[in-house]
Symmetry: C2
Subunit: 282 residues, 2 copies
């Protein structure tokens, strides 16, 4: 496994690999790898000749109230995990390498930002698409892997790639879950025992909502109330939001149809959990 | 020669060509080809296995006061000229093909716009970088060819490609000139005879300015006055601007050094002519 810190060497390495006909799978990360990342890497390993991982804590996607300097880092651990899971190349640039001078051109998200978690993070997704435009050109993957857990990020990245015809297939990878259905997250350790026992209701309520839609319910307000009722009944969590949108456009629907996302965020005493379900009706 | 109207077929054709190791030279145009375009095509033909030309009148780069509908078109003539000059593939999409729905992500120029001709065309260069981001991904050239006559466009495109690491070499191609030095332009036919005889002073004054700089002059104001004096003395043209900037950053200089551009625009009775000289001092 190779670790490459410079844009020039990374891009030349990837162009060289591509010219020999190798397919490239790519997993962009901010490091501190967890099981979600490893699932993406495993999937990329299955489907490609070469697997590239990038580790870059992108300052552009942190808001003024978000603490960039306290973002966790452990490169030695990340490196060992990546090697174990068959990564061929880690791209590991510095901030100075990625942003040596102010950008003369900017990339900005115009749509899909003012919903779900994006509402409370203005500018966050501008930072995401800016760094991904750079990284996609540097790594030149055939396929790039993103988790569906951050469904809004996935939808925005699909918008970027479709609008600008990047020759890249975006591969959504299902959320990894505990046996009882709880989405795996590094935040789950902050749940107290009682909350941990209640937390599976998030995914249960999403699945129950899917069932009533499949049985004919088409009113989004009724489905949202149904989910809120289940969560309130079976947990002490405080609902931050339960929302239903078209997917990937993230537009409100008067009547449920087509591909949709049901997404929710619930605050427990020391952890805010998110989950979602994306499916096509009918 | 092939004419391809769809993004999907064009992108697949280019990916296929690249996978066989062919180098791709690309000339983006809005059609109605003139000698400047043909020089770019000839250069691309010399340097690459495959030459791609795009013809697309991009509505995004026209301002509200600029008449998109009256932009000249003659595809039959363009096609014949392209074939004669050895173009392999013309990409000729419709507006609906290129902009089927509003963009969810936009590309915006933050720098180098408020100088030279860009001052009077707000939003113009946003349209240019937006369409080029799409076209570069669709055509996937190794090299793309731009004339130095539109030096501001060239500088902005170099900014786009450098900032976002497009794996493309931007090749600047020298302005084609008449024997007396006048830059070739479709606007030259609008000069009356007396003006046509005076017009070579534009290029003469640029060259004379270069000489005094090479002889030691480092004050930009003095060089600008020197050029203005020559143009006023030898023509009836009304000076729109004479400017000197660093190149490609297009920043004002207190003292002339490094790579610079001297650019001017002069209005004659029925034609506004532009010209420039880019060179490195010392």
């Amino acid at each position: 496994m190779k670790v490459i810190p410079t844009i020039r060497e990374m891009q030349q390495t990837m162009i060289q690999a591509k010219s020999t006909g190798k397919s490239i799978g790519y997993v962009p990360t901010m490091g501190f790898l967890h099981e979600g990342h490893l699932t993406l890497i495993d999937k990329a390993r299955e489907e490609n000749d070469l697997v590239a991982l990038s580790i870059f804590v992108n300052p552009l996607q942190f808001g003024p109230t978000e603490d960039l300097s306290s973002y966790p880092k452990d490169f030695a651990r990340d490196r060992a995990l990546a090697e174990k899971h068959g990564v061929d190349i880690i791209f590991y640039p510095s901030v100075e390498e990625m942003y040596p001078v102010p950008l003369s051109v900017t990339v900005n998200v115009k749509d899909r930002t003012d919903v779900l978690c994006g509402k409370s993070r203005p500018g966050h997704f501008d930072g995401v698409v800016t760094v991904l435009t750079k990284l996609f050109h540097i790594v030149q993957p055939n396929k790039a892997y993103f988790g569906t857990k951050d469904a809004q990020q996935l939808a925005i990245v699909e918008g970027l790639v479709n609008d600008f015809h990047f020759p890249i297939e975006i591969v959504p990878v299902e959320t990894v879950r505990e046996e009882d259905g709880l989405a795996k997250s590094s935040r789950n350790v902050n749940l107290i025992l009682e909350e941990r026992e209640q937390a599976p209701v998030l995914y249960e309520s999403l699945q129950a909502a899917k069932s009533i839609i499949e049985e004919g319910e088409r009113n989004p307000e009724k489905v949202i109330s149904f989910i809120q009722g289940l969560i309130r009944e079976k947990s002490n969590g405080v609902i931050d939001y339960v929302q239903i949108y078209s997917y990937p456009n993230l537009k409100e629907l008067e009547r449920l149809e087509g591909r949709i996302i049901i997404a929710l965020a619930v605050k427990f005493s020391k952890a805010r959990l998110i989950d979602n379900l994306i499916f096509t009706i009918g």
